[in-house]
Amino acid sequence: MVWVSAIVQGILVGGLFALFACGLSLMFGVMNVINLAHGDLAVIAAYLALGAVTVTHVPAIWSFVIVVPIFAGGGYLLQRTLLQAALNRSVLTTLLVTFGLSVVIENGLQQFFSANSRALNIGNLITESFSIGSQITIAYLDLGILVVAVVVLLGLQFFLSSSRHGRLIRAVADDREAAQIAGVSYRHVFGIAAAIAFGTVALAGIAFGMYQQFDPTIGTDQLLLFAFEAVVVGGLGSLWGTLAGGVLLGVAQQLGAVYNAADQMLAGQLFFLLVLLIRPSGIFGRKETA
């Protein structure tokens, strides 16, 4: 029964991982930007939510109404300026620029907020739960985050497949130059993709801030790694693969924790390496094509 419980908890936390991963996957899939600052952006979002709660006294759970638009706008601007300038040079430059951004963010947060751990206060919600049988306990918060993740991925899927801008994002991802001569400003489309990616990472960061304590370094220490692992396990270019990747990673971690609480991270990493070894294109990834 303890195994079943671990699997359920793994699935629940997997939603959060998928929420982290989808923005990373989108930015890589559309503009070939490997955003090494992705985890740090999530941490900024958590601090921003903390600030929004302090200033406006909105309940923490509604802070996303303020933070997500700010992030989306910031994502568009950052893409049109710094990231586009890096892209004009080379893909490797974007890697260096986002790495630099990650360092700047981490140190900036330490400067302003100190290295102390913080948390978003969501009152009783943190402990409220319901039970299935005698062994399996499901926290409302965990379930809520999983539902949000699924809704976000569904929405993103619908946006990409059915909206005009979604169509342009797919066109630019297919062939940037052909999109230009078809009359598409790919820079603007990149900006929109970045806005969406930043919006989702803000949601993920806020959810994480409710889920557990955060500090300025946790972005690169954990979040970026989880996001990368979820993307690689699920396979690039597939949103449902990303969800599956997040869930499988979560389950692997929880099963490792059953064996030994200290082995939680190790189990996740081993599972990730195993997938890389057996199926490098990811479980739902397209096979490598020329």
Binding site: R164, R167, L168, R170, A171, D174, D175, E177, A178, A179, Q180, I181, A182, G183, V184, S185, Y186
Partner: protein, 266 residues
């Protein structure tokens, strides 16, 4: 003063890194008709077309559309100004459907006679297969979609880069047979074609490029075989003999060396 030509290229110099691809190329394309660019591999035909479309920035020189300088405009702005291109190799969005490919072409479209329905009327088969992914189409079908994607923008100048590349002759003929319908809608066509006989057949005016320079231009009927052969392959000035048996032998030898020899005979 007479009105400016529809498309004018002035003293265009284009470099690919260290290599100079175009040397002071100038041309003036009047409105209407088919204008063809011929030349051997690497003569700079595609580079010229891509520069007009905005995919290469010239080192010096300018490009004017009805007298307006568009040299510094991005490709997507040029589409809005009236320059659309069907690129070499078709370059469809493979994961998008036929209809979505055409819809992307509408992004910066000008007002005009062309829209999705008109394209579906032009290519009868396309309407029924508009939900199919472009990557699953045959080469000729992809070429048709690529033309549709460009034409829905209602361009004034339509640039066609190597339409016949990799397509069966019968498919190529079918596509070229559509040109009159495009011209009737008021579009001016500037095309690059490696198959010289094909270009001579469809064009009202041909330009021959050799090593990045225009070596010959005129109406196909007014150009002689020898003139074209000389402009296409080039001959050194020291051996600039009058036309006759020696020159025949010489151009024959040139033909054997040049990569375009096969297409010339075809």
């Amino acid at each position: 003063m007479t009105s400016p030509p529809l498309l004018e290229v002035r003293e265009l110099n284009v470099h690919h890194g260290q290599l100079q691809a175009l040397h002071a190329v100038s041309l003036a394309v009047p409105a209407g008709g088919v204008h063809a660019m011929i030349g051997a591999n690497g003569a700079g035909k595609s580079t010229l077309l891509r520069t007009i479309a905005g995919l290469h920035q010239p080192t010096t020189g300018s490009i004017l559309l009805e007298g307006e300088d568009v040299t510094r405009l991005r490709p997507e702005r040029r589409v809005a100004a009236g320059i659309a291109m069907v690129p070499e190799g078709r370059r469809l969005f493979a994961s998008l459907t036929v209809e979505e490919n055409l819809q992307v072409g509408l992004t910066s479209a000008r007002k005009g006679p062309w829209n999705l329905a008109a394209v579906y009327d032009l290519f009868g088969w396309m309407r029924d297969r508009r939900a199919q992914r472009a990557g699953q189409l045959s080469g000729g079908e992809q070429q048709a979609v690529a033309i549709g994607r460009a034409i829905v923008a209602n361009p004034r100048v339509l640039l066609l880069d190597e339409l016949s590349l990799g397509l069966a002759p019968v498919v190529v003929r079918r596509i070229y047979d559509l040109l009159p319908r495009l011209l009737d809608s008021g579009v001016t066509v500037l095309l690059v074609e490696q198959d010289v006989s094909q270009a001579m057949k469809v064009a009202d005016h041909v330009y021959c490029l050799l090593e990045g320079r225009i070596t010959l231009q005129g109406r196909p009927l007014e150009l002689t075989f020898e003139q074209i052969e000389r402009a296409y392959f080039g001959i050194s000035s020291s051996r600039n003999l009058p036309a006759g048996p020696p020159a025949q032998a010489e151009t024959g030898a040139g033909g054997n060396q040049a990569s375009g020899a096969g297409t010339w005979s075809g």
